[in-house]
Amino acid sequence: MSAAVEVRDLTRRFGGFTAVDRVSFEVGTGEIFGFLGPNGAGKTTTLKMLTGLLPPTSGEAVVAGVDVAQQALELRARIGYMSQKFSLYGDLTVDENLELFAGLYGVTGERFARRRAWALHMAGIEGQERRLTAELPLGWKQRLALGCAVLHEPPLLFLDEPTSGVDPMARRAFWDLIYELAAGGTTVLVSTHYMEEAEYCHRLLLMHRGRIIAQGRPAELRGLMAEPIYSFRTDHAPQAVEALQHAEGVREAALFGRDLHVVLDPERDEPERVRALLAAAGHAVHGIEQVEPSLEDVFVALVRREGGAVTT
């Protein structure tokens, strides 16, 4: 697996504020590589540096064999980029947007005809070619934006929170497209703050306050969490949460649906003791089950281990 992206100590400062702090990682060809973190974690800034939109303060990044700081225009011919905000021209029709980006990417003649048909099919908007883009539903717009971004069949695709604002169905459909592109050999770098989306990625970078706090496959990341998590079934979970707020050996107690999720101290992995605590407070426990940590659990635990507060 050759590296599509190689990043060494990439740093970006805005005045006294360090948005991205000595970040290093590699992305293999054909991978779906995710950036996970809350707003302000440095995901967008990292993506902007990798796409040549923002010069790094220090460090280096080689993307598709091109040094991002040296040959920004060369780089942009080899990548596709979709920004956070929907950014096609609303006052152009679907076809006019496709023609514009084809012109900018140098996709002409028969190749354009083929790619146009592909993009319309992929976005599921055949028959809407003459409609103003502004009139389309957001999910369609985002798929069209994706189509425009990969019209020139780039080996690398950068997506900055591509599904923000759309419903879960449209989000799912969008991820099917990402999988399709990756299966065709495209390397995809995607940022998100949706934990469930992070699960779709082959590998992940967890970012917090400009720094990488962990990276690996979703399963590996879940393995990083030493603290056991149990799900307790009680009748009045909200009140039960209160009862465990300052209990010894309990790292965290939170509502999870109608159940209670409790993170225990690894040294005091005693769920029966918690059952007793709850019973003493008048909450009968009907069942206890150990659960797999979600990526959110992992994220919170890692940030806490670093001694920081989590702000999502």
């Binding site: 225009l73 950014s87 021209y89 023609e99 514009l100 012109g103 990417y105 140098g106």
Partner: protein, 377 residues
């Protein structure tokens, strides 16, 4: 490292997109076509430094054929209109004080007698000096009319022509119609404003809508963006200048004596600079509202006041004269007036041409630089 060459295809893709957007935006269309037309009509009709049919009163104490001829000559000039014929000098003060007349001509008894005897025959013209400019113009008109009339009297052979008189001939604008000066100047002023205002919107709009980032992520070179955006506006600018020229000729009777080709060439240079300035403002400020206001202030006042359009540059304080040298409208006004009225060519206008080449280079250079800086911020 392969050099990233400028590509006409990308430039045209941007130009095409810009044209489509312009076509769908009524606000920009109105600004592009209706505003210049409206300004030309408004200023063309509203501004005039010519005075016509000024009301005067006449007290003819001589009441002879000669005195009546002099009054007829004044009235026949179109500059004056005799509003009152007085029986005495008594109401003169009242008439002037109330502004009913702008001046009073008094022809004293003995006027025709003096004239017949070959003596100087003075008449009195009382003027309302509260509007000094008008008073001076009236004085000059009356002097000229009286002098011409005197000459006719002399030529009738009643006396030998013993006086040498200067015979002024005004070239380029023989009737001294101020409209002939205003319209070509106005075209320059209007285009200064319109050009900068039109492009002031174009990049700021992309920032506000978030499309600039997507554009910046493609392999498009910033010069391709700047020129791609300029192209449709250059075409609009040409249509505006051509329309204003035709309208000026048909409606206001302004002559076009020089080369149309030269006018077109120099117009192109001017438009590149003025449009570039607008793009620079737009790229630097990133906000449509702010950019429009700055573009208006940066072009309107200098183009109006420091270009020689209204005020003679030669009569200005040295510091204002120095500032006027960086007002592009100054050079374009010299071009339009020179080509329209004097019919002069490159041998005269090369210095304006050179100034506008510098202006175009600075405008487009600044636009491109501001654009690059903003892309990465």
């Amino acid at each position: 490292m392969r050099k990233h060459a400028l590509d006409l295809g990308r430039l045209l893709a941007v130009a095409r997109k810009e044209t489509i957007q312009l076509r769908r935006d009524p606000r920009s269309l109105a600004m592009a076509f209706l505003l210049p037309l409206g300004l030309l009509l408004f200023f063309g009709y509203a501004i005039s430094w010519d005075l016509k049919d000024l009301p005067i009163a006449v007290r003819d104490e001589d009441a002879t054929r000669s005195s009546r001829e002099l009054v007829d000559a004044l009235e026949g000039s179109n500059f004056f209109q005799v509003a009152e014929r007085l029986d005495s000098r008594a109401p003169i003060d009242h008439l002037l004080r109330h502004g009913q007349v702008r001046g009073v001509l008094v022809i004293p008894r003995g006027f025709s007698r003096d004239l017949a005897a070959g003596r100087r025959a003075p008449v009195q013209l009382l003027l309302d000096g509260s509007d000094a400019n008008t008073a001076i113009i009236m004085m000059n008109y009356a002097d000229a009319i009286a002098a011409r009339w005197s000459q006719q009297v002399l030529l009738r052979g009643q006396q030998l022509p013993g006086l040498a008189t200067a015979e002024p001939r005004v070239w380029y604008n023989p009737t001294l119609a101020s409209r002939n000066m205003i319209v070509p100047g106005l075209i320059a002023v209007i285009m200064s404003i319109i050009a900068a205002m039109l492009t002031a919107l174009t990049i700021a709009r992309e920032w506000e809508r978030g499309t600039m980032e997507q554009l910046a992520a493609t392999p498009v070179h910033r010069l391709e963006v700047v020129f791609g955006k300029l192209l449709p506006y250059v075409v609009i600018g040409f249509i505006d200048v051509a329309g204003s020229t035709i309208l000026g000729m048909l409606l206001f009777g302004v002559p076009l004596r020089g080369s149309v080709l030269l006018l077109a060439g120099l117009t192109l240079l001017f438009l590149l600079g003025a449009l570039g300035l607008g793009i620079f403002i737009s790229a630097a400020l990133k906000s449509q509202v702010l950019a429009t206001q700055v573009a208006l202030v940066a072009t309107y006042l200098p183009a109006l006041l420091l270009s020689g359009f209204i005020f003679d540059l030669g009569a200005m304080a040295p510091v204002l004269q120095a500032i006027s040298r960086i007002v592009p409208a100054r050079y374009f006004i010299a071009v339009t007036r020179g080509i329209f009225l004097k019919g002069v060519g490159v041998q005269v206008l090369w210095i304006q041409g050179l100034s506008m080449i510098i202006f175009a280079a600075v405008g487009i250079g600044a636009a491109t630089a501001a654009f690059r800086k903003r892309i990465s911020a």
